[in-house]
């Protein structure tokens, strides 16, 4: 058959993920007075000095760059909360719930709003550790699935950046399993089914037996 078409390598570039993340809302404290802004993406404001308001991240960063506001760190970004998340990441096999775009949001805030984040060095190193632990888990999780025949994967609580990074590997791997298994199924019954087709996932929903 002609042309196995090549699946998109990584469907989204890092910049595009950041673009998506920039629509997340954050709280800012403006130091200027401005009328409401009626954007295509929504209506924001009015802006009054010292009165906190919610705006999308891109707007917050733009205002911050011009020195017109301070950004309030999102509540998940405190040293305590993050230390907690790190503990649970290390202890459990599952992924802890984190904001979907935590990587992009934290990166943008570190770059542009350094003074607004209390204990920024601590926060930064915690987030790096959390990222490492999660990546490690992804690696071990992927090793597991390679033993069984997998038709679907459940990636609970994975964040946008992580999903984007493993996407090419996962899609290629699953596609190969799919191709191999369906061609095996067409072949006739000389092969006795000592293999079971199961939908697996990571998470305690189904227990797989190790062969």
């Amino acid at each position: 058959m002609a042309a196995a078409s090549e699946p998109h390598a990584s469907a989204f570039s890092a910049a595009e993920l950041e673009f998506l993340a920039e629509d997340e809302m954050v709280e800012i404290v403006p130091n200027l007075r401005m009328d409401p802004l009626n954007f295509i993406s929504g209506d924001f404001g009015p802006f009054r000095p010292q009165i906190a308001t919610q705006v999308p991240l891109w707007l917050a960063v733009a205002l911050k760059k011009r020195g017109k506001c301070t950004i309030r760190a999102p509540e998940w970004m405190s040293v305590d909360k993050l230390a907690q998340v790190l503990e649970s990441e290390r202890d459990s096999e599952k992924f802890q719930p984190l904001p979907f775009h935590y990587v992009e949001i934290s990166r943008l805030l570190f770059d542009h709003a350094r003074e607004d984040i209390p204990d920024i060095y601590m926060v930064r190193s915690l987030i790096e550790d959390i990222k490492d632990v999660r990546f490690h888990k992804i690696g071990t999780g992927l090793e597991i699935i390679s033993k069984e025949r997998t038709y679907a994967l459940r990636l609970k609580n994975l964040s946008a950046m992580e999903a984007n990074i493993v996407r090419p590997f996962i899609t290629r791997a699953l596609e190969t399993f799919y191709k191999l298994s369906s061609s095996e199924m067409i072949q006739d019954s000389d092969h006795m089914p000592n293999r079971q087709a199961q939908a697996t996932n990571r998470g305690p929903r189904r227990q797989l037996k190790d062969r």
Partner: protein, 220 residues
Amino acid sequence: MDSGAGESSAADDYESLMSTTDAELLKSAWRNEKAAPEILKFDADLVQRSRQQIQLMEEMVGEFGKNGVDPLTVSLYQMDLDRTMFLLRSYLRTRLQKIEKYVFHIQKTAEVWNRLSRQEQKFARRCAGDIKHHLEQSVLTKLPDQYQSHLRQSAASEDDDMVPEPQLDAYVVCRSKRYLGAFQLDDGSEEPVNIEADDLYALPYKSIKPLVESKQIDLV
């Protein structure tokens, strides 16, 4: 993000309200289009409305410039405008790339052809003509008679096997907005997969194709 039990219904309402704004719709159309292996239905209304809004906004910004409105405000409006234009352009660009890739298949298959907009159909026709012409000129006329079709390997082939088709088996990462319960994957031999709200799943595209079309599942 955190939301206590009492706030979750308010958050849900906000979510559903947000997701119906044109900006959100454009964003999710863009995301789905980027992640899907085949070309999806062209959302003509959405594109039309977005273009109108962009045009309105451009005129407004032009007037701001004349009326001497505070340059900060002007630059913020301009940023929002740029973001929306990027989404629209990238959406159209992704579709064009897919058309170029699968142009012969799209031409042959009426169902897919109908998913294109008027201008895209024009583009596809010209693109197909150009590629055909190029292949014929550079290679095909120099081959023996049996092999001169750009659609088939040889006159003896039963199907148009030189036409690349989008891989509907490709896996995609997707997320559903609500709990969809036990969902049967394509081949009847597996057990159904439980699809919960807001979790990511890696599934073959063709199993969830109808759900993507009815917008119950988003590709990520």
